[in-house]
């Protein structure tokens, strides 16, 4: 496996694959954060999570086209506008869905799963009708093109770096919201004991709706970031849903830190294996390992200690 490579080349390979893994890690983290809020905190299985992400990607696509047409001078900054709009669009759609469907099903998690799957099919077909079946890509602003040479063998693409920084920033923001804000305290109170939370005066319905909306909004930001490194099609979201759920479950559903740790290990394993095996086998081995570990340790890497 290692024959034919010199030590320095091997080092460079690991560094480059490691960096490719870090980009994958950032995508996983961005996608999984929204899910960690919705699934980890609320216990709701949202199979349409990928479609909320794709909505963010399509919003970014629209915004980039608008900027290119009407404000070419500001094109370099369109992404930040797009990100905010993507958050709002996905978040609002999420809150609408929570109101229309999910709030009726909190006591039937398996049924939520099926209903949100139906929702994802409807959203996919909507995207296909509106944007066409072909994948669309956005024009990356100039400052994000190109790569930074680290050594003569190792180069780091700037758009990847940007997505990583974004993932870190969003994780920090989610952490602060969950653990340092009044809203976060309410969310955690409602998840841990709904009745008591209601009894002390927390509007549990409003908290649920807001939580779901923010989770979906974070997915929208993930979608916006996604356009920087890949193109978007109506079914792109579905391709990620299994990975994302595994990331969240593997990390230990209720633990934000666990989600990040598991996103890191899964993405690194996959991208380093990818160099030595075919892409599909790398994926198979990674997923099998995750499923295997979950069978042995169903509570995931970082389990919350609680009495059942």
């Amino acid at each position: 496996m290692f024959s034919g490579y010199s030590m320095s080349e091997l080092g460079a390979i690991f560094a480059m694959q490691g960096f490719a893994g870090l980009i994958l890690f950032s995508v996983f983290v961005l996608m999984a954060l929204g899910l960690a809020i919705i699934f980890g905190q609320m216990g709701v299985i949202n199979m349409a999570h990928g479609e909320f992400m794709i909505l963010g990607a399509y919003v970014t696509y629209l915004v980039s086209n608008l900027f290119a047409a009407y404000a070419p001078g500001l094109f370099g900054a369109y992404f930040f506008v797009a990100m905010i709009l993507a958050f709002c669009a996905s978040g609002l759609l999420g809150m609408a869905m929570e109101w229309a469907i999910i709030r009726h099903l909190y006591k039937r998690p398996l049924d939520t799963l099926l209903a949100t799957w139906g929702l994802s099919l409807i959203l996919q077909q909507t995207y296909r009708s509106v944007f066409g079946a072909r994948e669309v890509g956005v024009t990356i602003p100039d400052w994000m093109m190109g790569s930074l040479p680290v050594t003569d063998l190792i180069e780091v693409p700037i758009n990847g770096l940007f997505v990583m920084v974004l993932a870190l920033a969003i994780s920090a923001a989610v952490y602060i919201m969950m653990f340092r804000s009044g809203w976060g305290r309410q969310v955690r109170a409602v998840t841990q004991n709904r009745t008591m939370a209601g009894a002390v005066g927390i509007d549990t319905e409003r908290t649920d709706r807001l939580t779901f909306g923010i989770g979906c909004g974070v997915a929208g930001i993930a979608g916006a970031a996604f356009t920087m490194i890949g193109s978007t099609g109506p079914t792109s979201g579905q391709a990620y849903i299994v990975d994302t759920f595994l990331v969240v479950v593997f990390g230990g559903a209720a633990s934000l830190l666990g989600t990040i740790a598991s996103a890191f290990s899964i993405s690194q394993a996959q991208s380093i294996l990818e160099f030595f095996l075919s892409g599909s086998m790398a994926k198979v081995i990674t997923l099998l390992a995750v499923v295997g570990i979950l069978m042995l340790r169903p509570q995931g890497l970082f389990a919350m200690k609680l009495r059942k």
Partner: protein, 372 residues
């Protein structure tokens, strides 16, 4: 109800009506092409019956039934492919006597694990044993550790994803994304002409009834009662001294075997097997067949599979854009508006008007509301 009678009167009537539809009405009303299509839909009904046992009775929702369907289908397809790949028929290949897709992928000898599939008896055994074994391993690992509900659903879905990626990636051994195609004869009997398809339709219909009888027997037995009790109050059953995990493993294996039989019949009826039938999307569609028919009703599962697939064909033919909207709406509607599916609607609106002497109340008592 006396203990000696095999079925209640309304159950017997339901079975008779289904038999009438499958054996008389469809063959008389439909041309060979449509009948073949309904044969294909029937193969999905096997999965749906298995799901009624797992999900409706046991409360175990598997999103990986496509894997078991595929295992059965691939076992059958491997046997048929080997039969079609005689040295004479494949003389133009660089290695005659192996399946054509292996030759295209520069494989020069038949892999060892393909060898036993020359034998029809082994193939039939494998169709039942391989998925059961696989389901046992999954079930043993998960249910012993008391993993259930949504976690189980997610893990089985991941397994469906892995299976698809693996089949597509190992093109030389599995035929890749195209699957195993160009199947010709079963023990010398040509499965391609219309007459063979019609015959296979009837085989399917008979096997459906076999599975229905087995499933009904399971549900009527003490085992079935424990299963329902477990779904509604797992801890109480555990504290009463029952080994909950074993019950779950068993019913999951039965569901897997039924799906596998369906898969094997699918290969025969349709003439190919491909990874597109194994993955996440088809697996979750199989759940909707069961949900539309009514997750607690075995007969409903058959109607659900037929109806949803028929709707899929009809809509995809005339309004391809609308089908996904329709299917999505169906998922939402079946959960929000009528969680007991067609069978629930039948019980609520039709049955009271039929006035079975002395029925009605008991029928409702046998169909408890799900408590999740």
């Amino acid at each position: 109800m006396t203990r000696s009678s095999l079925f209640r009167r309304d159950e017997a009537a339901g079975l008779a009506i289904l038999a009438l539809i499958l054996f008389v009405v469809f063959p008389l009303m439909l041309d060979d092409f449509r009948l073949n299509l309904f044969g294909k839909y029937l193969t999905y009904a096997f999965v749906a019956i298995g799901l009624v046992l797992c999900w409706g009775a046991g409360g175990i929702l598997s999103l990986g039934q496509g894997v078991f369907f595929g295992l059965g289908g691939y076992c059958m397809a491997m046997f048929l492919k080997l039969e079609a790949s005689t040295p004479e028929a494949t003389a133009i290949q660089s290695t005659p006597g192996i399946p054509d897709f292996m030759d295209w992928n520069q494989i020069t000898a038949l892999p060892l694990w393909w060898e036993p599939f020359h034998n029809f008896g082994f193939t039939l055994l494998a169709i039942l044993a391989v998925p059961a074994l696989f389901a046992f391993v999954i079930g043993f690992a998960m249910f012993r550790r008391r993993v259930g509900g949504v976690y189980f659903a997610i893990i089985t879905q991941a397994i469906a994803a892995i299976a698809t990626i693996l089949i597509i990636g190992q093109q030389g051994y599995t035929g890749g994304v195209n699957g195993i195609t160009d199947l010709r004869t079963l023990l010398g009997w040509d499965i391609r002409p219309d007459s063979a398809k019609v015959a296979l339709y009837f085989v399917n219909a008979v096997l459906i009834f076999v599975c229905l009888f087995v499933a009904m027997a399971i549900r009527k037995s003490k085992f079935g009662r424990v299963l329902v009790a477990m779904r509604d109050a797992e801890d109480r059953v555990r504290f009463s001294g029952y080994d909950v995990a074993s019950f779950k493993i068993f019913v999951f294996c039965v569901g897997a075997m039924m799906a596998s039989i369906g898969g094997a019949m699918f290969t025969l009826q349709v003439g190919f097997m491909s990874p597109t039938i194994v993955g996440i999307v088809p697996s979750i569609e199989m759940v909707i067949f069961c949900a539309v028919g009514g997750r607690h009703s075995l007969l409903g599962a058959v109607y659900g599979a037929l109806l949803v697939n028929w709707a899929k064909t009809t809509f995809s033919e005339s309004f391809p854009e609308l089908w996904l909207f329709g299917l999505g709406a169906l998922f939402i509607a079946v959960v929000m508006a009528f969680p007991n599916g067609l069978a629930g609607l039948f019980d609520d609106y039709v049955k009271p008007r039929l006035a079975w002497p002395g029925r009605g109340r008991r029928a409702r008592a046998d169909n408890p509301q799900p408590a999740e």
